[in-house]
Symmetry: C3
Subunit: 364 residues, 3 copies
Amino acid sequence: MASLLAALRHNPLLWLLVFVPAVFAVQSVAHDAHTMLFVLSVLAIVPLAALLSHATESVAAKTGDTVGGLLNASLGNLTELVIALTALRSGQYMLVKASIAGAIVTNTLFMLGASFLLGGLKYHTQEFNRVSARLQACLLFLATIALLIPSAVGQADSGASAVFTQKLSLGLSGLLIVSYALGMIFSLKTHRELFAATAHAGEEETPWPVGVALVMLAVVTVVVALVSEVFVESVQKAAEAFGMTPAFVGFIVVALVGGAAEMASAFAGARKNRLDLSVGIALGSASQIALFVAPVLVLLSYVMGPTPMDLRLWPGAVVMMLFATLTASLVTNGGRSAWFVGVLVLMVYLIFAMTLYLLPPAAA
Amino acid sequence: MASLLAALRHNPLLWLLVFVPAVFAVQSVAHDAHTMLFVLSVLAIVPLAALLSHATESVAAKTGDTVGGLLNASLGNLTELVIALTALRSGQYMLVKASIAGAIVTNTLFMLGASFLLGGLKYHTQEFNRVSARLQACLLFLATIALLIPSAVGQADSGASAVFTQKLSLGLSGLLIVSYALGMIFSLKTHRELFAATAHAGEEETPWPVGVALVMLAVVTVVVALVSEVFVESVQKAAEAFGMTPAFVGFIVVALVGGAAEMASAFAGARKNRLDLSVGIALGSASQIALFVAPVLVLLSYVMGPTPMDLRLWPGAVVMMLFATLTASLVTNGGRSAWFVGVLVLMVYLIFAMTLYLLPPAAA
Amino acid sequence: MASLLAALRHNPLLWLLVFVPAVFAVQSVAHDAHTMLFVLSVLAIVPLAALLSHATESVAAKTGDTVGGLLNASLGNLTELVIALTALRSGQYMLVKASIAGAIVTNTLFMLGASFLLGGLKYHTQEFNRVSARLQACLLFLATIALLIPSAVGQADSGASAVFTQKLSLGLSGLLIVSYALGMIFSLKTHRELFAATAHAGEEETPWPVGVALVMLAVVTVVVALVSEVFVESVQKAAEAFGMTPAFVGFIVVALVGGAAEMASAFAGARKNRLDLSVGIALGSASQIALFVAPVLVLLSYVMGPTPMDLRLWPGAVVMMLFATLTASLVTNGGRSAWFVGVLVLMVYLIFAMTLYLLPPAAA
C-alpha cells in the first residue's frame, strides 16, 4: 500500500484510478449510459495499464536480464491483449482486428512521431542506435507482410476461399510466433550487446517487491478484464453518439487508450534525450503486437471465440500498416532526428486518423 | 531592357521568347490550328518559365535569406500553378490532376535521373548532402501517402462516397499546407545549416534590380496565363493529332514543359559537380508541387472551378507516384552517384512514359 | 574425363548425375509414370546445373575479366533459361511466368536468407560490400517496376486491352535488356572497382581446359534441354499427385531446382565468411533473370512459342516480387548481417511458400 502511494506521487496518471470504482458504480445503476460508461472506462484503463506495466517491470527486474526481458516481451502489451480478448469472446472480430492494426499503426506513427517531436523541441538534433531501430523495423516489416499476404493474395485471386484464409492464418500465426521467439533469443541472448540501451527501459522507477508485484499483476489484470468488458460493450454505442466510425474507434481510440502507459514512458525518454528508449518502446511494442499478440489471438479464437478468427484485415488497414512500416523504416534509417521528423511522422498518422474519421460507417 | 538583353546572351533558352507573339498572332488568324497552337504555346512557355524563375530569384536575393527562401518556395513552381489554374477554370480536372502527378513524377525521376547521368558522364562518382536529400524524400513520401490514401481507401471500400472524398481532400489539403509551412520553418529557420547548399540555387546569375524583377514577375505571370489558355485549349485536340493519350499529355508533356527552366538549372548544377543543387531542385520542386501546389489547387477549385476538385487520382497515377518516391528514396539514400544510377532512374521514367503512351485513351 | 572425375570428388552434388540416364530409361519404359519422372528429372537437373555453371566459369576464366564477366552474366542462368524455353515451346506460359517470378523471389529471399543464416551460425556478425549490394537491389527494383506496371496499370484500368499489354511487354523487354547491357558496362568496365569482390566468384575450383569446357557447355545444355522436356511434361501431373498447386510448383519447386548449383556456391561463400560472394550471387542472379532472362523469353516467344507471351503476371506474384525486393533492400542496406537477419528473410520466403502451397488451384 505504501508503495502504491509512492507510485501515486511519482506518476500523476495514477490519480485516474478513481475512475475504476466509478465505472462499476455507474454500470450497476445506469447500465444503458453507454457514452458515460465509454468515457469512464477509457479513463480507468489508462492508469491500470500504467500499473500493469510497472508490475511487469518490477517482476522483470528481480528475475535477471534474460527472464526479465522475456517477461517484459510477453506481458508488455497485456492491456491490449486483455481488451482484445474481451472483444474476441463477444465475437466482435472487426473490433479485435481494428485494434490490432490500430495498435501497430499508433505505436509506429503516433508514439514514435510524438517522441521525435517532444525530444526535438528540447534538443536541436538527437541520435539513436540505428542498428537496433533497423532490426525492429525489419521485424515489423516481416509482420506486415504476414498480415497483408492473406488479404492481398486472397483478394487478388477471387478463388481463394474462407477455408484457405483460415488455414493460412493458422500457419502464419505459427511462423510469426516462431519469429518472435527467435527474435528474443537474438536480442536477449546471442546479440544482446546490440540492444543494450533498450533493455533497461523502466529502470528509473523503483521496482516493487516481487511479492507485491506478482499480486498486483494478477489483481490488475482481472480489473482490466472487468473494465474492458464495460468498454467493449459501450464502445459501439458511444462511437455512434460521438459520430465516430467503428474503424476509427478500433484503430485510433482503443489503440491510444491501450498504449497510454507506454506512451508516457516513451515521451519521458525523449524529453531526457534518451531517444533509444523511445524508439525501442515504440517499435518494440508495435512488433510485439504484430508478432505475438495478433497470432496468439488467432490461436485463442479456436478456444475462446464463437468461431475461429483469421488474420485477414480490410484493405484500407493493410495499406495503412504498410505505410506506417515504410515510414518508420525511412525515418529511423539515418539514426538521427529533429523536431520536423516528428512532425512528418505525426502527419502520416493524422492523414490516417482523418481518413478513418470521415469514412462512412458502411465502408469500414 | 538592358538586363533582359544580358539575360538573353546568358541564357540561350530565352531566344524562344519569339514564340510568345507567334502564339497570339496564329491564334487570331487561325483559331482552329490546334496542333500548331499547341507546339507554339509549348515553345513559348519554356522561356517564360525561365524568366519567371529568374524574376523570383532576383526578388528573393534582395529580401534576405528567410523571406527569399519563402518566396522561392512559394513561387518556384508558378508556371505549373498558372497552367493548372487555367485548366482548373475550364473544368478540365483530369488534366489538372495528371499535370500535378506528372510534375511530381517527372521532377523526381526525369530531372533527378538526367542530373545523375549528365553529372556522371563528366565525373567518375559524385557526392551530395544525403541528410537534405533524405528529408526531401521523406516530405515527398508524406505527400504521396496523402495523395494515395483517398484513392486507396476510397477504392478499396466501395461504400466511400463522393462526399467523403471531398471532405477528406479538403482536410488533407490543410494537413499538406501545414506540413509545408512547418518544413519551411525547419529548413529556413531552425535547422537551416542542414540545407546550406541548396539555399543558394540561383546564385551564379546576376539578379535583376528588385523593381525590374517585380514588374517582370507581374507581367510574365500574365503572359504565361494567356499562353496557358491557348495551350490548355489546344492540348486535347493536338494530342489526338499526335496519337497521344490525354494521360500521356498531362503526365509527361505538360510536366516537361512546365519544368524546363528548373531542369536547365539542375542539369547545369550536375555538370559543375554541384549535385547538391540538382538534387535539391529536383526533389524540392517535386515536394513543393505535392505539398503546396496540389492542395492550393484544391482550395482554389472552390472559388474558381465549376465544381470543387478532390485529390483523388486514377490508380495508375498513384502507383507511379509511389514508385517514383520509392526510387528517389533508394537512390539518394547513399549520398553518392555515378552515371548508371542516372540510367536506372531514367529507365523507371521511361517505363512510365511508355506505359502512358501505349495506354488506350479510354483507360486513362 | 579425368577432370570430370576430379570434379566428382570435389563436388558431391555430381553423384546425382546417375539420375540423368535414369530419367531417359524410365521415360522409354514407363511414359506415364509422371510422379517418378518428375522426381528423377528434378534430381538429374541439379548436377547438370552445377556442370553448366562450372563450364561457363571455366570458359570465363580463360577469356579475361571483361568477356568472362559477360559470359558469366549471360550464361549464368542457362539452366533456368533452358527449362523456361522448354515450357515456352509447349505453350505453358503460366509455368514460364511462375518460374521467372519464382526464380527472382527464391534467389532474393531463400538464397540470400539461407546465406545470412548459415554464415551467421558460424560468425557473430558478417560484413559485406554494401555499395555493390545496393546497386543490385536497385537493379532488381527497376525490374520489379517493369514487371508490375503492365499488371498494375493493366488491371487498374479496365480498358487496357491485350494488344496494349503485348506492345507494352515488347517495349519493356527492350528497356530491360538495354538496362542490363548498360549495367554490365558499368560493373565490368567503367566502375569495376566497386564490384571487385563479386567478380571472382568461382575462383576456388580449378577451371577446366577451355576445349573441355566448351564441349561440356554444348553437351550439357542439350542434356538439360532433354531432361527439361521430361520435367515440363511431368510437372503438372506430379504436382496434382503431391497435392501441390501449379503456382507452388512454378514458383518454388522449379526455382529451387534451377538454382541449386548457385545456391551451393552462395552457401559455401557464406560459410567461408565471404558474404560479398553470397550476396553477389543471390542478388546478381535474381536481377539477371529479371533483366535478361525474362525479356529474352518474351522476344523468343515470337519465334518459338505458339503465340507471343507478355510480361503480365498474376497479381499475387507481383505483390510477392515487390516485397521480396523491398526486403532485400532493407536488409542489405546496412552492409552487416547476423543469423537473425537470415531468419527474417527466410520467414518472408516461408510466408510466400505457405500461401502458394495452400492456395486453391483455381485461384493460382
